[in-house]
Subunit: 308 residues, 2 copies
């Protein structure tokens, strides 16, 4: 098969840090065009918007959307209507209903829709799922604490309604939790802490109900200076484990059992090739459902205003 | 077929106003038991909770849940695990994830799960759907304004996290909108107004995106004294119409075209008999998805404290 031609929409931080290197490293893919109002990639044809790109470039097979979730649906619809495969950064949209619309449209057009969760590709996630599978789980503590100024410098959209606030990293934690936990969970309590001047929360405490009886909680906080924490602590009837560094490392009873290089975005683009090659879509929305449930169910607390 | 034995869980306002008369009026159903901490129905066996009821009464075919949504999932699960059919008042739960769990469990047990939307049974809803079906829709204005003190006197749970606030009536409007509108919609903007002392909103303004290009909005307000408004105003290329009184009346170009007696809950229980008779479930969650999307996407405004 000739390499697939990929167009990137939205040439911002995540595109430069992750998507462009991952596409460049995959011999099955070529970065053939970009669409962005005010950025471009050296040596790659640039268009001011996706409509212009699609009209000019029949050779584009896949449109990969890295724009903020609030504006992603219109572009995804354009690309699907034009018969192109579509890959969505996380979260796959600002609302569940708009993603349901995209799922139906991709099915109707017979093209691939891939709602990605990059953290699920982290090195030790699969090993952790396997380790948990045959154990009685007593307790799961998800702890995701980072410094928003360090990881999202100046990104105003993340604080706007629909930008999810601390659930932007938190949804990564939820994508890992839903990948490793053997049963569906649902949220029974959520405390959401909003800066007085922002539409989205800076911190969240979640309690889940597990039909199997495990005690499952998550805490997200964007005010963590110094060392950063992206851990899932697991207690079972047969030992305990910590999945740390956002899913990259697994320690079982204190012993390092899985460690490897970061391959999250290379893993996503490899999966994209599989999906296109087998005419299938992958659109698990469970992390996004938990976020919507947290907002619906949440107690709202107010804290100090946030300024970059 | 012998009448189905129905057990009601939660003997509160909605049970007395609607469920008990509707069951009594249907020859295919018998109200055979109730479960409630502190209420009962004269002449009907009463149990303190559903677990006791299920253990004592193998003859109960259907469990109809009228308890607040925050506590409904555990009882629904008990009933489904015991192999009984389950009917859920709206909204079907406090979270989408918990309803997904019930849908999977009902399918695994081979019993009927019916997530009801009583407003869809209102007299003129089906006529309005038919009237819209062959027209180009330009504008839809949903206006749902009522006095919370009149309709929810002293109901504290409705103001608690998970109780939905003004979306408790608003979800009725959304159940009508999703029934009559010919395409899936998604919310693009939501302004939610919270009383300073409450976890749920007293008012909401919603803007939807329609792939077909119609201008669709909804306004919900719980501060309406005097005349109450439950209207959907429709403008098309071939005339305009108003669906009013919560779906009971349809006027087309000013002329009354559909009017009839209230049959919402009798309609739900007739539908329950159809579903059980054909071994099927009905679990359209689209009204609840829009509510979750509104909370996720919403701008939060604060207004005066609310006291009954």
């Amino acid at each position: 098969m000739a390499p697939l031609n990929v167009a990137l929409v939205g040439v911002g931080k995540i595109a430069r840090d992750q998507h462009i290197p991952a596409i460049a490293a995959n011999p099955g893919l070529t970065l053939a065009a970009t669409a962005s109002r005010n950025a471009s990639v050296e040596g790659v044809d640039a268009y001011p918007d996706l409509a212009a790109l699609l009209a000019a470039r029949e050779d584009i097979d896949v449109v990969s959307l890295c724009t903020p979730p609030q504006v992603r649906h219109a572009d995804a619809r354009l690309a699907l209507e034009a018969g192109r495969h579509v890959m969505l950064e996380k979260p796959p949209g600002a609302t569940l209903a708009e993603v349901h619309d995209l799922i139906a449209l991709a099915a109707a057009r017979g093209v691939t829709l891939f709602a990605t969760w990059h953290s699920r590709q982290a090195h030790a996630v699969e090993a952790t799922r396997g380790w948990l599978a045959d154990k009685t789980i007593r307790k799961v503590e998800v702890i995701w604490k980072e410094d928003v100024r360090r990881w999202h410098p100046g990104q105003e959209w993340i604080w706007d309604a629909g930008g999810l606030g601390v659930f932007d990293p938190g949804i990564n934690a939820l994508s890992v939790l839903t990948a490793i936990f053997p049963r569906p969970l649902h949220i029974t309590r959520a405390d959401l802490t909003f800066p007085g001047n922002r539409d989205t929360p800076i911190a969240a405490d979640l309690t889940f109900s597990d039909p199997g009886g495990a005690d499952v909680t998550a805490v997200f906080d964007w005010r963590q200076e110094g060392p950063q924490t992206w851990d899932v602590r697991l207690t079972t009837d047969a030992g305990s484990a910590v999945l740390s560094s956002g899913g990259a490392l697994l320690h079982v009873d204190g012993v390092e059992t899985a460690v490897g290089q970061d391959r999250e975005y290379p893993g996503l683009y490899a999966r994209l090739l599989d999906l296109v090659g087998t005419d299938t879509s992958e659109t698990d929305l469970s992390p996004m459902v938990h976020v919507a449930d947290a907002f619906t169910l949440g107690r709202r607390l107010t804290t100090d205003a946030f300024h970059f």
